[in-house]
Assembly symmetry: C2
């Protein structure tokens, strides 16, 4: 059965994604991944030698999702405020489709014994945002702020609700649909904050 070599491999990866994203590394069991993929443990190890290998494979995929390129935003014609507004919209939509992403990446990176994962962090995102801010500051198009503080704030306002999702749902008596609605409404809300904060 050589037909679709990737078929089983894909099933494994899809299953591993779900398990790892929900339970993290130490909370995940290889048996659970095999079960969810509809295969057995022997075959699982036949495809991926070890839990570590499989996990790193998933993590690599996820970290690039967490820090997307978003090249279309970084157009010289865009103002800093427009770039941030675009980022807010794109990023919240991205996270709505991948709600477990932030907690997964951040808990993984926080594990003291896996600091090697830190090496995979990109830095271009923050640097490019800073450059655009400095440009618009010089043009008098934005108010003066500490740009790193502002960027981390925008990031936090987008990301935090997904990490605190169970808390939010409980405290505001929301179900999953209402949470999605809440996050959709959040896009113009946060964009509004940024305008008020930055516009001179």
């Amino acid at each position: 059965m050589k037909e679709e070599v990737t078929n089983t491999e894909e099933k494994i990866l899809a299953a591993a994604e779900i398990i790892f994203l929900q339970d993290g590394y130490s909370g995940s069991r290889m048996q659970d991944i095999a079960d969810l993929a509809g295969i057995n443990k022997a075959l699982l190890h036949y495809y991926f030698r070890s839990k570590d290998k499989l996990f790193e494979y998933i993590f690599d995929k996820k970290i690039s999702l967490m820090f997307p390129k978003m090249e279309e935003l970084f157009d010289e014609n865009n103002s800093f405020i427009e770039i941030l507004s675009g980022f807010i919209e794109n990023y919240i939509k991205l996270l709505m489709a991948n709600p477990f992403l932030p907690l997964f990446v951040i808990t993984t990176i926080n594990k003291s014994d896996r600091e090697d994962f830190l090496e995979k962090l990109p830095i271009f995102l923050k640097r490019r945002l800073m450059e655009f801010y400095q440009r618009d500051l010089a043009l008098g198009k934005v108010r003066k702020h500490h740009p790193a503080q502002l960027i981390i704030s925008v990031f936090g306002m987008c990301v935090f609700p997904f990490m605190a999702k169970p808390m939010l749902k409980k405290m505001s008596n929301m179900n999953d649909e209402q949470f999605q609605e809440f996050m959709k409404e959040r896009i113009p809300e946060v964009q509004g904050y940024i305008k008020l904060i930055l516009e001179p």
Copy 2:
């Protein structure tokens, strides 16, 4: 040796706190806690019957820290903006002294098999903030916003940097002292955002 019954118990709790906060439930080992407390596993189980009991003990302590009462803030003479500003200062200072607190509480609550912990969430904090917002909105002292969105934003701006601390340190080339400095500077920064967002 009846002298200080609490002495060993306190050593255990202090050790359990450090281990659990850093590694979470499934990442923590009873042996590590015993080692850090300077005792052996037998004695550890002599004081706390099981890992679950010990963990719940720690979690209860921590969740009340995560959602402090801050009664002094909720004074009728304070404006909503003053209340938020006070909250930002108090909360960031609290987290500076307990940097692992947010990730610990949130990851614990997110574990699907421990949803019982959700029951321990308070709701008074959000409700009281909402009441003060509505009052000041009626008085024309604040701009119109979706108050739940605003409150979660303030929360996120305070909490998120601590959860993403290793990422932030890496991306901005900071050491621990510089991170502390960054968070200290963050207090007036976020307070400034709130004023710009809310003042009519």
